[in-house]
Symmetry: D2
Subunit: 274 residues, 4 copies
């Protein structure tokens, strides 16, 4: 018997719809949804520049961190509430829906004022009070896989999110921690078809965190869609070399444009709407 | 250059003193401190029985979870505030100081009313808002190593706890996640002497979670002290077979008595006060 | 400085040519080469049936194990020399070149009489006497990544193979061992573009061993080609449910036919000859 | 049902006796046997110096590699047959029995002329032809755990060694590969009491390879004996800083002397003959 119920495979795949100034964006089986943007919101001008760039190149959703989980207390923690305001500006101007991370259960209300999709990061995948709180909300949640979480633990975290009535969970594979250090993490694409077998929930892949190297992002993005993923989450920065975090894994506009073109071809082969 | 400063090796080892009805209990270099008790507080009677048992057998501190992090939303989550009250009764009767886990940053005040030492669990080692909150408190914090955390990440989590002025951090190795499944986790005793080299903070070992099998707890407890650990955290239950959680790794009173006796011999060899 | 030299990136990619009754089969950048067949040679009739099947469906090379590395001394160890003879029959009839594993350095000559490509299995990636012996031969070697080998160790094993003058090494990713047990291994597709950056050698992927589940083989095969792999190694069996080994991860003819069709579309997108 | 039979727990523990110029040395339950010496035999004078040193300080068996498995083809591969001769000299002079590694199945006879115990290294734990060959010999085999081998795979490798009639297998834990890189490997002491439960075979621990840092060797050596190990394998070099391999994890004579003294106290506590 499977230990999860609400997250378990059903006849019908869950399609999550996000509404924005520009209409409706769908995430789930049959679609290929591209989430792109910088790791962190660094300034109003910076996020606006990134938002215009990824919008022009075909992204459907803007990502950007206002609250950043940092391994060291001395690293840039994000702009916080100010960052949320800048994300709101970017949505207003570009019409792109926003996905941003909530770190602190006490910030849920503030983040929900702005976010079209709330992200639960890898380190919080088993932050049960945060999952419980979000389970009572009506917002789609992008649930990153814990970097050392099994598929079962990941689906049980989704179960927590659904236990209060929220049905809108998007799973995001972002690489796992293994003995191999030539990449930042080890991208586990086998879980993409496995999740499709076990669950009705959409699954997207973040090749930026998974590999940690911009040169590997495009090939792994294509591989993810070929494996059946419902979308991608890509770090794009107009000047990766000056980014306050994750510059090494961020794509320039030119590289993101090439990724979009090649991913579109694969998505079309797979019969996905992009 | 080391990325942590406050947690870094200094001439002087940190000794943490916990005051209770019975006097002062010290944790750190030169001491061998035994924390024992059930995984979860199950009822007032149950925690009192356990407290009397471990007290009689020589434990210095009582453990017991009121708020339990559970992988599944359908598992017993602990008794919550009621469990805290029972822990208070157990302290009152036995004089043993209490260590108990805080899961939710919103519960910090409530837990601090009761806890002599607050535990941050393995899944919360990188719950940065919780670490920040506890860094402003005057309570000793037992910081369990994340089950997939490197030593550097662990010491950086300690750095977070110390960044607000709190100097009372106890590190607890509790096993890491590896490919090996014949034990629940893989106990990493190499980190005990390594932490002693890198940091001034006390380090204790939890062989119960590390191995997941009661038969392995006693040998690994002895090994931990022989490797230089400053103490142990042991799950003891008066009826392991009926425990609501972690019964397989809990010791009976008889087994704990034997552990105490053998650990004492090793501690004496090592010149530690027990 | 890189610790390997002969295996290191050069301007020119290495293309390995295998000659057979039917002409020349190329492996390397620009090609998509499909190696298919049963895990083990089980009988003459069985390998002939499989050979005809995979030939008809478009495979370029026949795989089949005569000497099988088995974790238990009580498992079927392969037919040995008899199995080699059956492989020779299959090549004679179908014209398909043969790849088969050598386990014992004392069997190299015997295996070389039959094999067009010799396989060094995952458990032998650091069997240095075997690597040294093969480095003096003129046969292409398919070098499977050790299931816990880093990319650097893998390329150093290739360096061993090349150190005696052999330049014909094909790298094969077959999944690594991690904490995740919902798949047999964790397929590490990030290494495909990484190897392309670090080395001039061809790299193929074995999704059968990597996932251990036939349902995941097709999606991961497609993902591998989309990530830039130069080919695939696929377990196909006419009756997977009666296979003497690895039945759970073997494709039926019908499933292999579908895989070939979908892989061809991806290969064409990538501009690869298939 | 356990997949191994010959290696499985029985009433009686296996005690292996090694005869040398000085009498009999026993390995198994109730004994604490110390194997010490340099990683590699570097010259006749060097191994004689080391042999005299470890003999004087109380070691029971001399280790030293003549054939060395090296990750790179450009590293020192050992002195080979010449190294075996020097080991023979060292035994002749000191009376210490010799343990040395065999890498190549074709070298078994040559190594057996000299070795009192043959070592199968971590990378060869699943070199099945080598295991089969040794299973027909009458020599004790020290079987190192593969650096990514499960306990079951390790016991199945022992089963291979016993399948031809050889009953003299000594298991050696030497650290496993995990995500943690602050030590060379992660020493898995939980397997010591676990092996005692599952098997009748002796189990020893190699803290030198397990930790890769000489400062950690003494604490982990003591921990291993406290956990129930039947002995230790320790790298000792008269000038670690000039050692051709593994200098960082080798003890000086002074450090080994201190280790011996402290290990003796623990062994006495455990009721072991040392």
């Amino acid at each position: 018997m499977k230990p999860y119920r609400l997250a378990s495979r059903e006849d019908k795949d869950t399609i999550i719809e996000v509404h924005s100034g520009e209409g409706t964006c769908s995430i789930g089986e049959g679609y290929c949804t591209i989430i792109a943007g910088p790791c962190a919101v660094e300034s109003e001008e910076s996020i606006l520049t990134s938002a215009r760039l990824v919008k022009k190149l075909g992204a459907h959703i803007l990502r950007g961190g206002a609250f950043k989980p940092r391994t060291s207390p001395y690293s840039f923690p994000g702009l916080g509430v100010e960052g949320l305001r800048y994300l709101a500006s970017a949505r207003k101007e570009t019409g792109l829906p926003i996905v941003t991370e909530v770190l602190d259960v006490r910030d849920v209300d503030r983040v929900l004022e702005i976010a079209d999709i709330v992200q639960v990061g890898s380190r919080n995948m088993q932050n049960f009070p945060l999952l419980r709180e979000l389970s009572h909300q009506r917002v789609p949640v992008l649930l990153k896989r814990g970097f050392a979480a099994t598929v079962e633990e990941w689906l049980l975290a989704a179960e927590y999110l659904m236990s209060g009535g929220n049905r809108q969970v998007i799973l995001c594979e972002r690489g796992i921690r293994t003995f191999e250090n030539s990449t930042r993490n080890t991208v586990d694409l086998g879980v993409v078809p496995l999740i499709k077998e076990l669950s009705h929930l959409p699954v997207v892949v973040d090749p930026s965190h998974a590999t940690g190297k911009w040169q590997l992002v495009r090939p792994i993005a294509k591989a993810a869609i070929a494996a059946g993923a419902d979308g991608l989450m890509i770090e794009v920065h107009h000047h990766p070399e000056t980014a306050l975090s994750d510059g090494k894994q961020s794509l320039t506009g030119a590289n993101f444009a090439r990724l979009m073109e090649e991913v579109k071809s694969i998505a079309h082969l797979e019969g996905k709407i992009i």
